[in-house]
Symmetry: C4
Subunit: 370 residues, 4 copies
């Protein structure tokens, strides 16, 4: 891909409500309109994509039992997390470079998220500036996800900016201290077609025309308990450690002061050969034992999955790729359509599984299908 | 689909005996002659159709052991249920809108069922009136399946009519308090091409040109133990609670007065991500412990499956889609052909498994193939 | 298929050594030259062919461990069974109607088997007469497999003839008291193109132009412990009960006087939905505990399978379909080629698994691969 | 294949760095340029290739857990084995006839291996002479793998030559006392297109135009504990017994004096129906209990696999086919590219799994995914 080609990256532009039959169909529809390099970046995983696929098949190890004669009608999926009341137990996951999906970039996603009524996660690798995103968010709740610089002064600078923007929590992505083996990106010789204003302060360039490998290498490659403490102390905000897949690491993070455990395998984009994220959840939630909230991501595509994650110990889930497909297909309205779909689908599952509230889901017993 | 197209829904009309090689082949043959919207409605499941498929693969978790040197010749599959002697341990399941499969609607099915010699279940969402169905049933045994109104006076009215028609039991469908996520129907924009005379009294319309979603929403969406008691008290008939998939709900239903437990996941049409119906049977039958009969459905396509269900605790099974394919292909004669096939196939399995009677099947040990 | 078409059943006729790369390839090659009705009859199973396939996949539940530094060179697969010394631990299984595969019928198979140096099983549904088969066997060892008449006088008559022919054991097929659900035969409207001289004495016809269903129905449909005793007493020969798939039936047969337990599910041709035959072997051999020999069949296609069966308790295995494919492709020479292949393949496995003798195989530990 | 055709075996000749997206892609690319007979010989397995495939799927039984907040940056994969310091925990496996992949034969492989910085294993079935290989190795470390002659004097002669060449260990391949059932080679009527100078002293010919079957048959077919002792005593070098797949054989080899246990199923080329090599590793490493080093091969295609093998008890792994594909595609530079790829890929896994050193990997807990 030449610089010239990069310049003409042809992101979708439509803003419209979309019909969501299911999110797998959205992926297919998005693949038709998002340029191949961008689509492969968004949809792809690392290595054999074993873990990417396992994130899906892992759901089949547990069944939701239909329940009847229950005191359920018009179930209520609302909940709260870290002081925010949200319409439904899901938020937007931090994802880099929304501009690959739509010309409105993170501002489009943010508007859809805010209109729906949940929390936006702003990635440090955002292609939009905080003030551009705020145009969409319009005061809605937001968390800031950080890829740290090797220079803590710059980290302070980034945190200052995020706090000024109104972030109420810091998400520390701990599982991406270097780039996963994204074979599709390598084959495509993929480079970002635009810059990353938040982290460009510590990159050799703006981010534009740079590979993921290159950008990760310029970010901090060793993230330790000290970083959790640093972020917590400096920001005075709750710090959520993202990328936990083992009970030991959950304890480590809590010991370092984490205010939330974010169970994730980065959507199968980092360590291939890892289990499905859902497979690790139950063991982690047992040791966390309610001390801090658990946020779950990687593989959530249906209301059924949200139900299974919550019944296995998660407090909320984060949605990633499906929302970006909605962004691609309909801008902020497409984002809202996708979130409404998840809300509707979850409520249907709640009704058929005999659960009136989020608390009821957490008490539900799943059926072992191994 | 426009109203005009609905009017010309072109249901099959042939009345003929059919050769049944197996019921999977019938499904394929039916798909050639039943209009796509109707065929997808009948054959489809919800969501990913995971549970629909799991209803099939679940049979493979247990093997029927060939048994030899047994005192078996010309096995006898006859049995009785709730006072009815029937030729074989299977009855017709309640299914809505047989008119999608054949112009003779439920009357065609009823005639085939009566001619064979077992029990007809009449769905509240029948497209035919009781008196039309009676033309086919001709005095044969029948149970009435109710989708309740939100208005109990109308429910009394419906029960009065069903009793007057001769129903000897009430089937309370408890797992369909709203429509499952039938993606094929949504994609097809499927609406019923004709009315539902039994429940039209509580619908905003006749049922014609209405979607399943709409009709379910107008039916009672909260079915509780009180409803079991109400139906039992008012009808003075045995009440069977249909849609049980957990031991806890079986106990709940019995506690509420249920006279039979109907193990079913609605043929994979309601809660996707649920286990196969057969997977749940053994655990339920253990807690029911013979106190009330167990009727099993969802996934029965061969005599082998009937054998496995009975050996796992069911007293009888209910047959659904395969009978409707027979109806499509040959009207009442096709229905009879399908039931004769199941009878023949079951007797073959009984002989090769060394079981002379239904009681022998119930004592048989299955082989664990997990 | 009209009578005329039956008359011109065009069985292969070539007599030649064949190269056996593997027996799966033979099946494919045979399908090219054996008329479809005959090929489907030979190769097919019952119902969904689940059990037919499971006979193959069941081998994968156990691994043969490579063993090294063992005192093994040029392993010796010879063994003996019921007084016969044989070159290798396999014999010819009883199969009906070899004439479907080759014009030389059972005589061709018998010659190949005798030339190789093992035991021929002669089926009561043979298309050749005893004296025709003897032309091939030429004094070689033989066992006689009986499908009993409903009339014991005729059974005596058949046994007299088999004894006069030199049979040294009677195989009582107990798992085929009626025909399995052979869907391919039904779809093909398959009838035997020629008669069955041994059992024609109790059929309404010669066997020609008759379906398998019809012939089974005219044979004895209730085989009990009394039949084992009758055959033993009248023949004064060892009686092997064939079709055992459960430990209970093995005990039942031994209690009735059986001199050998023949573990088989009839090659997946009788009760579909049954486990793979190999899955049942270990449990049976534990209760038999060496009191009588165990013969195993159903799914043996490689030396590896023979090894696994012997390591799981079988004394010898019986080979069926692969030998008939050899017959089709090369007459008696083809049969011999197939048996030589199995001998060669078994010796290779023996060497690589560190086993010098059949006794060594029986002591080998398989690796659990479930 | 006629002698003339053999003479014109058209091995690839290019020498170039290659881009390695993954090693599966290399296999595909190599299949395009290596003559079919040679490619099938290199890539193929025995029998059904069940074990060949199981070597791959076995990796999926264990997951590598992503680990975070670890004290890891720029992980160090260097290690040492039998006194050699090597850059990474992998060496070149002994493979016959590299000339099938590239005209530079073993000399090309050796140069790539030496340039990378690890150990070359020289096969007794090398197509190049020791002095030709030394041209590539250029003083780098080497181990010599022996296929023994039936004549111990010739074995002494071979060992003398290997020692003179500088071998620091003898690899005794114990699992190939005759050729596996290589069906592709049989179908291709594959013979080596060139001689094997090291073992030609005990063959009836040079090795050229001879089949693998023929060559194995002329090699020693009974390898016992005495051979381990003989090699050890005569060579005064460490002897590694290769082809161990059971704990019992590991103990046997150690008892006979083995200085290392080489866990391998010969890449699925010998005993088909065996478990995947990785499945056997944990049990073996438990009984070896650190007394001697464990070398692992069969199925290593990614850094993930190296990690899993080391976490399951291996000290180093040996790489085979992927290196030969590198040789085919780029001569010694291609070999180096492949080894660099494995190094890079392993370091990425180490970082993401929170392991700074090889010792850390050995302490890592894998996630059970059965």
């Amino acid at each position: 891909m030449t610089k010239k080609e990069v310049k003409v990256y042809d992101a979708p532009t439509k803003i419209q409500d979309i019909e969501v039959l299911n999110t797998y169909q959205l992926e297919k529809l998005a693949s038709d309109i998002v340029p191949k390099g961008g689509f492969d970046y968004i949809s792809g995983g690392s290595g054999d994509e074993f873990t990417l696929q396992r994130n899906q098949t892992a759901w089949q190890t547990k069944g939701v039992l239909p329940r009847v004669l229950a005191d359920v009608e018009h179930p209520d999926p609302s909940t709260s997390i870290l002081g925010h009341d949200i319409r439904a137990p899901f938020i937007m996951a931090p994802i880099a470079a929304h501009g690959l999906a739509h010309e409105t970039k993170e501002a489009g996603t943010a508007k859809g998220v805010a209109e729906f009524g949940t929390i936006m996660s702003i990635s440090a690798y955002s292609g939009a500036k905080f003030e551009e995103i705020e145009e969409g968010l319009n005061g809605g709740p937001r968390w800031f996800q950080i890829y740290m610089s090797k220079d803590d002064e710059l980290n302070k600078n980034i945190i200052d900016e995020a706090k000024a923007d109104g972030a109420t929590a810091i998400i520390l992505t701990a599982d991406a201290t270097l780039s996963g083996n994204r074979e599709k990106d390598i084959a495509n010789k993929f480079v970002y077609p635009f810059g990353m204003p938040i982290v460009s302060r510590y990159l050799t360039g703006s981010g534009a025309n740079m590979s993921l490998n290159n950008i990760y290498a310029q970010s901090k490659q060793k993230i330790t308990r000290e970083d959790v403490k640093f972020l917590k102390d400096y920001s005075d905000l709750p710090v959520l450690v993202k990328g936990i897949q083992s009970a030991d690491d959950a304890l480590l993070a809590i010991g370092a002061g984490a205010d939330g455990i974010w169970v994730s395998n980065h959507g199968g984009r980092q360590l291939d050969g890892a289990p499905g994220s859902f497979e690790t959840l139950e063991g982690i939630s047992k040791v966390v034992a309610g001390r801090v909230p658990i946020i779950f991501d990687s593989g959530v595509r249906r209301g059924e999955h949200i139900f299974k994650a919550l019944a296995s110990g998660a407090d909320i889930v984060a949605l990633g790729r499906p929302v970006l497909y909605g962004l691609a297909l309909g801008g902020w309205k497409g984002v809202r359509s996708v979130l409404e779909y998840f809300d509707e689908d979850l409520k249907r599952v709640m009704q058929l599984a005999g659960t009136q509230t989020i608390e009821d889901i957490k008490q539900a017993q799943l059926f072992d299908m191994k």
